[in-house]
């Protein structure tokens, strides 16, 4: 399912049957049919094509958030866990403060402050998504810190950066990847939620959450406007959840439940 | 000393856990009368599986036997409903470590009483009185107070006596003791075992002790089965242990440290593949 998402995003122009921005007011709010598999929206744009192009936006968001959040969380967590002491206390306090909000609310606040746009939505999501990763990386680091092979590396005179980078980071990777995968599902939902509230991608971008928001006005008569983008979000998010869940079972069934 | 009317008859019992190539128990046959039978083996020899198989507590594991008869009950054919009236009432089992085998958030007395109330209709007060009497029988002083303690508040030795009280309260015919003392401090082991032994003798209960401890079995059992890799390699009277013929048994005995014995390194078991080969069904 996820591979399909990537393929769709990569070849969007080829798969899409219509131009996602092409308006055709004479053909507005058309039911799903042979010409428009998922129907058309209030401006006569082909919903299927918009969904296909929207996959690109979704993938971009996931990708950008993940490459920002992964390293930051890993860095904060391993450094705090490895050094301990006051550095640990401070970093974890900061993490706790971020964790004391539901991520969507915090993202909302950030976007509100930065102004609504796709880029700001990505920044806001990234800002709120790193703390759980940091927590996890710290917990992992703590379990390895006292291991004998770390002591051995230290005795050989390896610097702490080197130990963190060469010995601890690789050990944290499996559980971190699982968490990131599960995180992607949340990121998709948060992004869609921001889009829905009008704080994410702005029209006419075919972002799925924003599509649902505009479709809402025509919901009672034209169910296809909201149904298909929602299904797209559901499928992708479910895909990431299933993948993460499967990875967790495969790698370690127990420890991931602790945050 | 084998009793004339056996309580439990086991013929060719085999247990295989799902996903495992080798059965955990193979073609095991024995009978228990009103006596004390010991099953001895190393960890992994399948001895603990035997107790759970008799109580039919192994979910998912494949259990076969020619015969698994407990008094008038065919344990192989018994429905779950029938098993519920056997477990805890007529066959009970003492587990290894009271730290884990007692429910940590229930008062120990309530746990003992529950064993009684599951099988006998009675008031709470009656069950409490019965339980306290039983706690006193296992030599717990101040049983009234101990009744209201939580498991983390009692010592290991006391916890195991609570366990014994719980499992003897319903006057069962057969008690399986699965490593009853190996989690306890050496100093209280003997004490706990003596209490168990006295009660079992007084009430004429059949006792099946599962243990890895040869000395314990020698002192508290009438007969001994030696298990290796899921099979019985030898069966003999406890007092004849020194005259064991099977090389595995002899190896086990040789590997026992002795006070005042020679200071040579202890003998190490020299395992032979032949012991593992299937001995086939025994007639």
């Amino acid at each position: 399912m996820l591979a399909a998402l990537i393929v769709i995003a990569a070849f969007a122009p080829l798969i899409a049957t219509h131009d996602p921005y092409l308006q055709n007011l004479g053909d507005a709010l058309a039911r799903p049919s042979g010409a428009h598999v998922f129907g058309t929206d209030e401006l006569g744009r082909d919903i299927f094509s918009r969904l296909v192009h929207g996959a690109r936006i979704t993938l971009t968001i996931i990708f950008l958030v993940t490459i920002v959040v992964g390293p930051i969380g890993l860095f904060v967590g391993t450094v705090a866990g490895y050094h301990g002491g006051w550095l640990d206390t401070i970093l974890m306090r900061v993490t706790d403060i971020f964790l004391s909000f539901p991520s969507l609310i915090l993202s909302l606040a950030f976007v509100a402050a930065l102004g609504p746009s796709l880029n700001n939505a990505i920044i806001a999501i990234a800002l709120t998504a790193w703390p759980p990763i940091a927590r996890l990386a710290r917990a992992e680091t703590l379990t390895f810190r006292s291991a004998d092979y770390i002591a051995a590396a230290r005795l050989q005179g390896a610097s702490s950066w080197r130990i963190i980078w060469r010995s601890i980071v690789p050990m944290c990777m499996p559980s971190l990847l699982i968490r990131l995968t599960l995180n992607m599902a949340t990121v998709i939902l948060t992004a869609a939620g921001l889009g829905f509230l009008g704080l994410g991608a702005q029209p006419p971008l075919p972002e799925w959450g924003a599509m649902i928001a505009t479709g809402r006005r025509y919901m009672i008569d034209s169910w296809w406007l909201v149904t298909f983008p929602g299904l797209a979000i559901l499928c992708v998010s479910l895909g990431f959840n299933l993948l993460g869940d499967g990875l967790r079972d495969a790698l370690d069934p127990k420890q991931m439940n602790k945050r | 000393m084998t009793s004339t009317s056996p309580i439990l008859q086991v013929e060719n019992l085999s247990v295989r856990y799902p996903g495992s190539a080798v059965p955990a128990v193979r073609n095991l046959s024995f009978t228990v009368g009103r006596e004390r039978l010991g099953i001895v083996g190393e960890s992994g020899s399948g001895k603990s599986t035997v107790g759970r198989a008799i109580l039919r507590l192994l979910h998912g594991a494949a259990l076969t036997a020619d015969r698994l008869q407990f008094e008038d009950v065919d344990l192989l054919a018994a429905t779950e409903r029938q098993m519920l009236s056997v477990r805890g009432r007529r066959i009970t089992m003492i587990l290894q470590d009271p730290k884990f085998s007692l429910n940590p958030i229930q008062r120990v007395g309530a746990q003992v009483a529950e064993a009684f109330r599951t099988h006998f209709a009675c008031s709470k007060a009656e069950a409490r009185a019965k339980s306290i009497a039983m706690l006193e029988a296992v030599q717990i002083r101040d049983a009234d107070r101990v009744y209201d303690l939580y498991p983390h508040e009692v010592s290991g030795g006391m916890g195991q006596r609570v366990m014994i009280a719980m499992m003897l309260l319903t006057n069962p015919d057969l008690v399986i003791a699965d490593e009853p003392t190996s989690a306890l401090d050496v100093t209280v082991r003997l004490n706990v075992l003596t209490i168990l032994d006295d009660l079992v003798r007084d009430k004429g209960i059949g006792l099946l002790i599962i243990s890895h401890d040869l000395n314990l079995v020698r002192n508290f059992c009438d007969r001994v089965l030696i298990m290796y890799a899921g099979q019985v390699v030898e069966e003999l009277a406890a007092r004849d242990l020194d005259r064991a013929t099977h090389p595995y048994t002899r190896g086990l005995i040789a590997a026992q440290p002795r006070i005042g014995g020679s200071r040579q390194p202890l003998a190490v078991l020299d395992r032979q593949d032949a012991w593992e080969t299937d001995r086939g069904a025994q007639p």
Partner: protein
């Protein structure tokens, strides 16, 4: 013990302080000029400057923060530009609607999640486990605002089983005096059972959907806690005593995870607030979430930051509460 309480208290204070710093910083980085927002686009220079000084924007940042801190300690969160009322008053007015919704939702979510989690654990790796995994992950993967719309389409528009938007039918609005703000309680006090019924009909759909979405997390945790417990020796003891598997599961294993579940449910309640923001928009539910989002869109930062602060405080409160419950319920921590 006293030391632990003290440590926790400092922890809470530090977190609260951090919370305030965070809201302050977010408030500062916004590109909207707060003075312009008050005085309007073409106010004369003098007016602008006066308001600028009134807001304390001419002082150094740390002094501004201290002023902010002072105001917060006095429970003065400023005035909402949109409603012209003190923000705190506004929030007091809208919060009960959200709490009613979230509480109903958590009751549904917790019952569903715990039942599914226990069933899944007892039937590990058999079909009920797999079905439950899919069902709960679905709930976790659905965008709640979309589920809300689809729910309205099916259960309100097509089937007519439940009420539509709002907390009650238009007809009843204003019929019940507001005593607690909780409509179900208010209408029950007033003896207006028609209003009560209408409120329930309006509440049931958004609460169920919210509950379903939170059930995923509760299910997963319940399952893993139960698996932990079912592997314990005392479970075998209970079986040996002759208890049926149902009695063993509920009386022994489940009893042992109750404490942990309290924590989980408290956390889930917190994240429900997140879903509430979205679903309130869909259902035109006059609650906290709607208040927050409508102020967001017009850049009323006083209101927004206070909302964020309130959510943070609720979250911290829930954490403390679950911690306390843990201490009270687990005999080992007494």
């Amino acid at each position: 013990m006293r030391r632990a309480v003290f440590g926790q208290a400092t922890g809470i204070i530090v977190t609260l302080l951090g919370l305030l710093i965070l809201t302050f910083v977010i408030g500062r980085i916004m590109p909207v000029d707060p003075v312009r927002a008050i005085v309007g686009e073409d106010a004369p220079r003098e007016v602008y400057d006066r308001v600028f000084r009134q807001l304390g924007l001419d002082r150094p940042v740390w002094e501004q923060f201290l002023l902010y801190l002072r105001d917060v300690l006095r429970f003065d969160f400023g005035t909402s530009i949109r409603t012209g009322q003190p923000v705190l008053e506004d929030i007091k007015r809208v919060l009960p609607a959200t709490i009613e919704l979230a509480t109903f939702a958590i009751i549904i979510g917790a019952s569903l999640g715990i039942a599914m989690g226990v069933t899944a654990a007892v039937n590990k790796d058999r079909w009920p486990d797999h079905v439950i995994r899919i069902v709960s992950l679905m709930g976790h993967s659905m965008p709640i605002f979309w589920t809300g719309m689809i729910g309205l389409l099916i259960f309100y528009a097509a089937l007519g089983w439940v009420g539509g938007s709002g907390r009650m039918s238009q007809f009843y609005i204003g019929m019940v005096p507001e005593t607690t703000g909780f409509l179900l309680i208010d209408s029950a006090i007033a003896g207006e059972w028609d209003v009560f019924k209408s409120a329930l009909r309006h509440l049931i759909l958004p609460a169920s959907l919210l509950g379903y979405s939170s059930a995923a997390y509760i299910t997963r945790m319940t399952r893993s806690f139960m698996l932990d417990q079912l592997g314990q020796e005392y479970v075998t003891t209970a079986r040996v005593k002759g208890l049926s598997s149902r009695q063993t599961v509920w009386r022994h294993a489940f009893a042992n995870i109750r404490v942990q579940l309290v924590t989980i449910v408290a956390l889930a309640y917190g994240s429900l607030l997140e879903g509430a923001v979205l679903i309130e928009t869909v259902f035109a539910w006059p609650g906290f979430g709607q208040y927050l989002t409508s102020n967001l869109l017009i850049g009323d930062m006083n209101a927004v930051m206070t909302c964020v602060l309130v959510v943070g405080v609720i979250f911290i409160g829930l954490n403390i509460l679950s911690d306390l419950l843990y201490r009270v319920f687990d005999p080992r921590t007494r």
